[in-house]
């Protein structure tokens, strides 16, 4: 069961807030800007290219590449989402903190997010210079929000249904998955504000696949506009996930096209942050959608204009 009482605190309708600039670290991102959050895992066993950045040098190289390819945010993870060998808080800190320090030293202005659900690593990475706590396991540890408030960091408020960290969904069902997501993430956002987190640094994330079957994740994608309509910046984390693989019938390494389709739909519906393994392709898909919407001019247009 969840460790908190958010569900109690969040019943009833909420007024939408005015979409405003998102503050992350030293950066301020206007509401129409779509951001790429590049994934860099400090794990030996994450689901996509396991161990590829287990080596610290390889991980830093990936950071350089991600920045060059247009990443706005880095999301560093020290613990895979899937069940597996225990990673203690101390071990997570060992995996992540020196890396955050190294990235911060190399890129003073780059937004650094850390994918973590426990307050001990959260505190350690904030001390090392992290700007955003990507609390993928939906406020399982309420002290993470306290840490964000203490350090002036941002916080991702996510939805995992009834899951506890590092567990897989077992026959989840919802009367209305979007309503359940809204209730949870808005409740967490409220709790974060009460804890003192700057509202301009709060992000909501429906967390595709987490506590959901593929039908649920498709529904969330289809109705993502209901999340963006709240006015909170929405993080879309779909990269190469199982719902993409099950939908297009492809293994992890064959899910890029499906991921980009989700990315495009999400961008069209107003999501603002896109967590991605494939930075360059994601950047292109987002720029394409932005140009279609009229938020960003094309790179260079001469066709038919000469």
């Amino acid at each position: 069961m969840l460790m908190d009482d958010v569900a109690v605190a969040t019943s009833g309708a909420r007024a939408a807030r005015e979409p405003g600039p998102l503050r992350l670290g030293r950066r301020v991102f206007p509401a129409h800007q779509r951001l790429v959050m590049a994934i860099v895992n400090r794990t030996p066993d994450s689901f996509y290219r396991p161990g590829a950045t287990w080596d610290a040098g390889a991980a830093l190289d990936q950071v350089h590449a991600a920045v060059a390819e247009g990443a706005d945010i880095l999301d560093v993870g020290g613990v895979p989402a899937k069940p597996g060998p225990e990673v203690t808080a101390a071990e997570e800190i060992r995996r992540v903190v020196p890396f955050v320090e190294a990235v911060r030293a190399a890129y003073p202005d780059l937004v650094i997010s850390v994918d973590s659900w426990r307050h001990e690593p959260a505190r350690a990475v904030c001390e090392a210079g992290a700007d955003l706590l990507n609390d993928t396991w939906s406020g399982w540890d309420p002290l993470v929000a306290e840490v964000a408030a203490e350090f002036g960091a941002g916080l991702v408020c996510s939805h995992v249904g009834t899951l506890t960290p590092r567990t897989r969904p077992f026959r989840p069902s919802y009367a209305d998955v979007v309503a359940d997501v809204l209730d949870r993430v808005l409740g967490l956002a409220e709790r974060a504000q009460k804890a003192g987190v700057d509202p301009a640094r709060i992000v909501i994330d429906p967390a595709h696949d987490f506590g959901k079957n593929t039908w649920h994740s498709l529904e969330l994608t289809r109705r993502l506009g209901e999340l963006t309509a709240t006015g909170w910046p929405v993080l879309l984390s779909a990269s190469r996930k199982d719902f993409v693989g099950e939908t297009v019938g492809a293994p992890v390494d064959g899910r890029l096209a499906g991921t980009l389709a989700v990315t495009a739909v999400g961008a069209w519906l107003g999501a603002r942050i896109f967590r991605a393994h494939d930075v360059r392709d994601t950047r292109q898909a987002l720029d394409m959608v932005a140009a279609i919407r009229g938020d960003l001019p094309p790179a260079r247009t001469v066709r038919g204009l000469a």
């Binding site: 009229g294 094309p298 260079r300 247009t301 204009l305 000469a306």
Partner: protein
């Protein structure tokens, strides 16, 4: 009396708003700015912009290019000026007006469309009339050479294109108005050379004067269309 003239091309990409995040052909835009500056420097009473249109007609001097016709969702910039239901200013006049605006010209202007298929004699007469419009009249002739200069050109390949454009460039460089007056309208149309009528208006404006001194500021075809920028005085 004509005191100065300039020749500029009319690709829509001269409007900065239409090229996206990139600046395209800065050399060409620089040459066009120099051409407009050349006219302003003579302190004319009026600047007549002449360019091809569906028919010979004078447009409201306050009219501007309707960018929304080229970019329905303008990324930024100038407001749409076209009246609903009214046809928009012909491209060449719109580009000419834009160049004068960008040069900071706020003085009197004539926006004169010339029927793109008008015979040479009509163009020459129109040029004489424009030159007589004021004691010190300047002319900006806006139009392009052939759009059929190669396999990547908008109009693909026509082997007559390069000789045609070379002849226009040489005539312009020599201030040889008779050569411009002699351009064949049918050939120009075949070659998608939209500048022919405007150049012949220019020739008419210099009728009865000594051969103008001329300088070519740009002559190239980066996208398969011959662009020519020339300054005459």
């Amino acid at each position: 009396m004509i005191v100065a003239a300039a020749v500029c091309p009319s690709p829509p990409l001269l409007a900065r708003e239409l090229t996206g995040r990139a600046e395209v052909l800065p050399e060409l835009t620089g040459a066009c700015a120099a051409a407009a500056g050349h006219l302003l420097a003579t302190a004319p009473d009026v600047i007549a912009v002449v360019g091809a249109g569906q028919e010979t007609a004078t447009w409201d001097p306050d009219d501007r290019l309707d960018l929304s016709a080229y970019a329905p969702l303008p990324a930024a910039g100038r407001p749409v000026t076209r009246q609903p239901g009214k046809p928009g200013l012909p491209l060449a006049l719109g580009i000419g007006a834009l160049l004068l605006d960008e040069a900071g010209y706020a003085g009197p202007r004539i926006l004169q469309a010339v029927d793109e298929s008008a015979p040479a004699a009509d163009c020459l007469r129109l040029g004489r009339d424009l030159a007589a419009a004021a004691p010190r009249a300047a002319l900006l002739a806006v139009g392009d050479g052939s759009a059929r200069r190669g396999p990547d050109a908008p109009g693909y390949v026509d082997e007559r294109a390069v000789p045609f454009d070379d002849a226009v460039r040489d005539a312009m460089r020599e201030g040889d108005m008779a050569a411009l007056a002699g351009l064949e309208a049918d050939l120009a149309r075949d070659l998608m050379a939209t500048g022919r009528a405007a150049w012949q208006v220019l020739a008419g404006a210099y009728e009865g004067t000594s051969r103008p001194a001329a300088a070519i500021r740009y002559a190239a075809d980066p996208f398969g269309v011959a662009y020519l920028v020339a300054l005459l005085s």
